[in-house]
């Protein structure tokens, strides 16, 4: 079966692990458990009439304590760039990380996820910012690992983008 390495990238506490758990196991926990290092999971997705095994690399969030090493990304077919919509800075940090990746590895299929869209009262990403992201070529989705909103969609979009590359 076709196998694709997918990396989950973004700042700490944006919900990368929760998105994977929602996608792989259909569960969500309110408890925040920070990730150290890398967690690898697998899930079979179907796109364009074929099954694809997604090898999901849930990589620790970047902060002052841990930096993402580009060597983790070796062999990566695509990545989900995850930001927390209630923390504007995480979007800027995610985009900076993406720039770093493109500079070192070239253009790789990616989908931008603005997570925690269930927290509407705390939402900090203005509509015009989202419009600018689209203008910059980003396929951005508002998602919620808590409610499951758009979770399947972001992974299937990425799968499709990887297959079409």
């Amino acid at each position: 079966m076709l196998q694709k390495k997918v990396c989950m990238l973004g700042s700490f506490s944006v919900g990368k692990t929760s998105l994977v758990r929602r996608f792989v196991e259909s569960i969500f926990s309110e408890q925040y458990h920070t990730t150290i290092g890398v967690k690898v999971d697998k899930k079979v997705a179907r796109a364009e009439g074929q099954d694809v095994t997604l090898v999901l690399w849930d990589i620790h969030g970047e902060d002052a304590f841990q930096k993402v090493q580009i060597s983790y990304l070796r062999g990566m077919s695509g990545y989900l760039l995850v930001a927390d919509g209630t923390r504007r800075q995480t979007l800027e940090d995610a985009l900076a990380l993406s720039t770093r990746i493109t500079e070192t590895m070239g253009k790789i299929p990616a989908v931008l996820v603005l997570n925690k869209c269930d927290l509407t009262a705390q939402w900090e990403i203005e509509p015009d910012r989202e419009a600018r992201l689209a203008a910059d070529g980003w396929k951005a989705f508002r998602s919620s690992a808590k409610t499951g909103e758009s979770v399947e969609q972001v992974f299937s979009q990425l799968t499709l983008a990887m297959l079409r590359k």
């Binding site: 920070t34 290092g37 967690k39 690898v40 999971d41 902060d63 841990q66 090493q69 983790y72 600018r132």
Partner: protein, 681 residues
Amino acid sequence: MAANSIFESYLADQGYALFEYLGGGEFRALGSYPDWCKTVWGAENARQKTLRLAELSPFLENFLVDAEGFWNSKRKGAANSPVWIEHDFANHETPLEAWAVRLEGKKILIVRNLSSSYAERQQLFQTARDSLLEHEQLLHEIQKKEILLHCIIHDLSQPLNAMRGCFNLLSMEKLPGGQQRMIETGQRESQRQEQMIRGILEAFSGELAVQQGSAGTAAEAPDLAACAQRVVEQFAPAFVEKGIRLRLDPRLDVARDWKVVGDAPRLERIFGNLLENAMRYTPKGSAVTVGIEDKVHCLLAFVDDEGPGLPKDASSDRLFALFAKGKDRPGKAGLGLYFCKITVERWGGSIGAENRPGGGSHFWFKIPRAMKTTPIRGADKRSAPQKPSPSAAPVAPSVKDQPAPLAPGHLGKAPRRLQILVAEDTDVNRELVTELLQKRGHSVFAVEDGHAAIAALSKKRFDVVLMDEQMPGMDGLEATRNIRRMERASGNHQIIIGVTGNVSEEDEKHRIEAGMDGYVTKPFDMQVLFQIIESHSHGGQQAAPAKADSAVSVAPPVDVAAHLARSTGGNEKLAQSLVKSFLADAPKKISDIRRAVAQKDPAKLATAAHAFKGAAAIFGAPQVVAAARNLEAMGKAGNPDGAEKVFQTLETEFARLKTELLALRRKADAGAAASPRKRKK
């Protein structure tokens, strides 16, 4: 038990698994195969002579590339992996770590199960990240409270403006002694309440509590250059430590008058925030320059650095937004530049940043100059005539800044009764403005929105329209745009004065683009309101200005004599000569324009109107100049349709100017006749 065997048992007990790399992706377990390996990678592997670890673990597959690189190199030490998590067959997480080493010429892979220490390590990270999140949330909460506080104060102070106006109105009545005292008590208590609101603002809102833009007089205004100098001195040691040269622009003459609105501590804070920003991005060995330029009505201060410049996607809006932080070397909370923005804008200025042509960034802010005139008695200093300064700030001036209560009959009557249309949606403000203008002797018709204003203008002629900018339905800007569109056919020009709480440069641009002739800021003072309205009262229907930028915020009444004196440097003889030749030549020039209009000859119209415009401009005469400019524009556009009406306006305004010029001549002649001897000397 052999020593090796004991050692292997110990390693297995400590969670270590040792593998020798045999090449071709195959490994051999050294010593006993630990139990955790069996649960993670399967018990059957323990019985195999060789293992293909890359097939068992996607993470190891990735790491073994680095490991092979190490084994094939001559590097000493080890190649180590980060922590990764494997799931066992019961889906329990097993944290692991790996090292590639060379031992006795063999390629060895060591994998260690970190279960015993992982929880502690994770707890440390968790605590640190929780603290960061809490810190971020705390900052957000503080900010929300700051903003909420501003809103509350703004809302609290709004009714006070109306109350002050009502008390002022009542104080003008000749009330019996007892009632007069009650009014005075009301005035005093409303001022006390303002003081309390200000107290709350100052006590609780800290740095972000930007005071209203107190224009102040020149005597009490801060000196921008002195502020810049103090901040440069204060920051100099920090810059030296970073190896960056900080300097005042050598062209800056600090001895000159650089007085602006605002207050020194906040101006210094603005410079400080801009310098902190520059220090963060400027490389060692380069320079940061602080300077000020004179822009006539305002001063432009700047901080130039030699850093990498602004990010490509950094608009000014984003740079100065709340919580905006740089990507590479972010500051603290994303408040510094936001503070600069709201402070400068509250003072009626603006702020921005752009890349310098030679590299680096150019951060600047503009602040209105301090007034040199004494404020009008009874007028709110913030909206004094030189430039309407911001009065949208949350609170009114403190008691010490307050004008004394008005004496009965203080305002007096207007020199001419004007027909004024007031468009204002707030009942209390509409009633108050109507009452004030009527007391002044004007005739007022009040409506609630832009639609009603346009309807009223279609039925009746008004000298001035006082147009609130923000109204439901059709707002003041939209209504003004519609009125200007309708005027294109008639060639008339309705005087429209905006009423606004928005005083930024951008707001002013919108007003000018919409076609407003001026504006008055809320809360307005009676004297300022009257002065603005009456200064525009030379007939409400005037020649249309050819360009929107001819709108002025507060145009004083044009004094032809004074303008002429300025134009001629006080040379009375020259002034009289100019008046004489203008009066002699003007009829011919007017005749040329009339002929061009009648012949519908755009080229001749443009030439004749241009010549007349230049001649009239010597005397100020904005209405004459505007009409001539409009005719010239019509000619240049090749479309003289509608020029007849504009020409009529030109003739009317010229007649008015001619009367004033003839009066000047008579006055000069009378003066000359009264002192013939002096002239002979």
